[in-house]
């Protein structure tokens, strides 16, 4: 089971909330993704950060399941965007190969960011300039001293739109 470590409400005015989780296996990481996916709404922007092998795709697999998507999820490293139809559409981005944010405009990224589904963006830090400022940021970090599979997963929400996110996660957590 993943562990819910802490919750902070950093600034009520700017509506920033942070939650931290501990994951001890790829399955734990997937579970956390699944919970977030199950509460995601149209128009949500979820940025996913973490070094190679941190478990971003594992998280994405869980996230897709939480949206009711049964298709096999692969990292869109070469396609840049993969679309899936679940409870609401999932637009899964991988910005790793993007050299210039202009390239993102070229593929019509705004139609996805402000569209009818949820955007899950891997390597979002590479295209930070064009991502809507209000978003959910997931950072996955390793700590080899704690074990090969140990991951700390930090979830940070910015913006009023995402205010219910932490509360809903806790509700789901209690049921699980």
């Amino acid at each position: 089971m993943p562990v819910l470590l802490s919750i902070w409400n950093l600034s009520i005015r700017k509506a920033v909330m942070i939650m931290e989780f501990l994951s001890n296996s790829p399955e734990d990481t997937e579970d956390i993704g699944r919970i977030l996916g199950s509460i995601a709404q149209r128009g949500y922007i979820v940025c996913l950060e973490g070094e190679l092998g941190a478990g971003k795709t594992q998280f994405a697999k869980g996230f897709a399941k939480g949206l009711g998507i049964n298709e096999h999820i692969t990292s869109p490293t070469f396609t840049i965007i993969n679309e899936y139809n679940g409870r609401i559409p999932l637009y899964h981005f991988d910005a790793y190969r993007i050299n210039d944010v202009e390239e993102m405009y070229e593929i019509g990224c705004d139609e996805y960011f402000f569209g009818e589904g949820v955007c899950l963006i891997e390597w979002a830090n590479l295209i930070e300039d064009i991502i809507p400022k209000e978003n959910i940021k997931i950072s996955i970090s390793k700590d080899m001293e704690q074990g090969v599979y140990f991951r700390k997963i930090t979830l940070e929400t910015s913006g009023e739109k995402y205010e219910p996110v932490c509360r809903k996660i806790i509700e789901k957590w209690d049921i699980a």
Partner: protein
């Protein structure tokens, strides 16, 4: 007699029509989810089979040339290019804003189609109907809604607005233009392939075609410098 197969997928609407000089022979228009890539070909197939013709029987194929949804424009252009190549027919691309303005034929006042370009921006142009032809008063542009309203305030007459931008910005427009703002009825406010076709027929008869091999839609984006400015000064990005 000229017969055109026209497609418009530049917005949330997917529309296909077969039109000749005197009438619409058939038109299918859906505005339900963005699923152009899955429904466009079956729509074409259906309309042709109901009319008992094939792509070979039309004189040319027309599509929207932009601006609009990047993905939508590409689906329309790629489909039209493929059909032209396969059936050896000429391609005619019609600017989306022209076809929208054409929905309001012979209307009095200024006609201003607005397509939501997101982040507070619109794709637009300003037209007036002069005698028998639409005359552009302001060229195609990607600008903020505020800047467009400032331009429209300078015209001292009614402004007919249409296009998907009116869904996003209707309240703001009314706030700024008051009773001068007139909104097109639902039957006219979105792109229709028959409007693309009607404009394409006029071009066909003048012998003005696009090269289907090299044709690309135009996306009409704000210059990067302006976007940088917006980011720094208005926090729009």
């Amino acid at each position: 007699m000229t017969k055109v197969l026209a497609l418009d997928t530049s917005s949330a609407v997917a529309s296909v029509a077969v039109v000749d000089n005197t009438k619409i022979l058939g038109e299918i228009t859906y505005n339900y989810k963005r699923q152009h890539s899955t429904i466009l070909i079956p729509m074409i197939d259906r309309i042709l089979s109901f009319l008992d013709i094939t792509v070979k029987d039309v004189d040319c194929i027309a599509c929207s040339s932009g601006p609009g949804s990047f993905t939508g424009l590409r689906i329309g252009a790629a489909t039209a290019k493929g059909l032209c190549h396969g059936a050896d027919k000429p391609l005619i691309g019609i600017p989306t804003l022209d076809s929208l303005a054409f929905n309001m034929a012979y209307a009095n006042g200024i006609i201003c189609p607005i397509i939501d370009a997101l982040r507070g921006n619109v794709y637009t142009a300003v037209y007036r109907w002069e005698k028998d032809w639409l005359k552009k008063q302001e060229d195609y542009m990607a600008i903020s809604l505020e800047d467009l309203m400032a331009k429209l305030k300078l015209y001292d007459e009614d402004v007919i607005l249409l296009g998907d931008g009116i869904f996003a910005y209707r309240e703001k427009i009314v706030e700024m233009l008051g009773s001068r703002a007139k909104f097109a009825p639902v039957s006219m406010n979105m792109g229709r392939a028959s409007s693309i076709a009607a404009l394409a027929i006029k071009r066909y008869e003048k012998g003005s075609f696009d090269d289907y091999m090299s044709f690309v839609p135009f996306y009409l984006r704000k210059p990067q410098a302006e976007r940088e400015y917006d980011k720094a000064h208005r926090g729009l990005v």
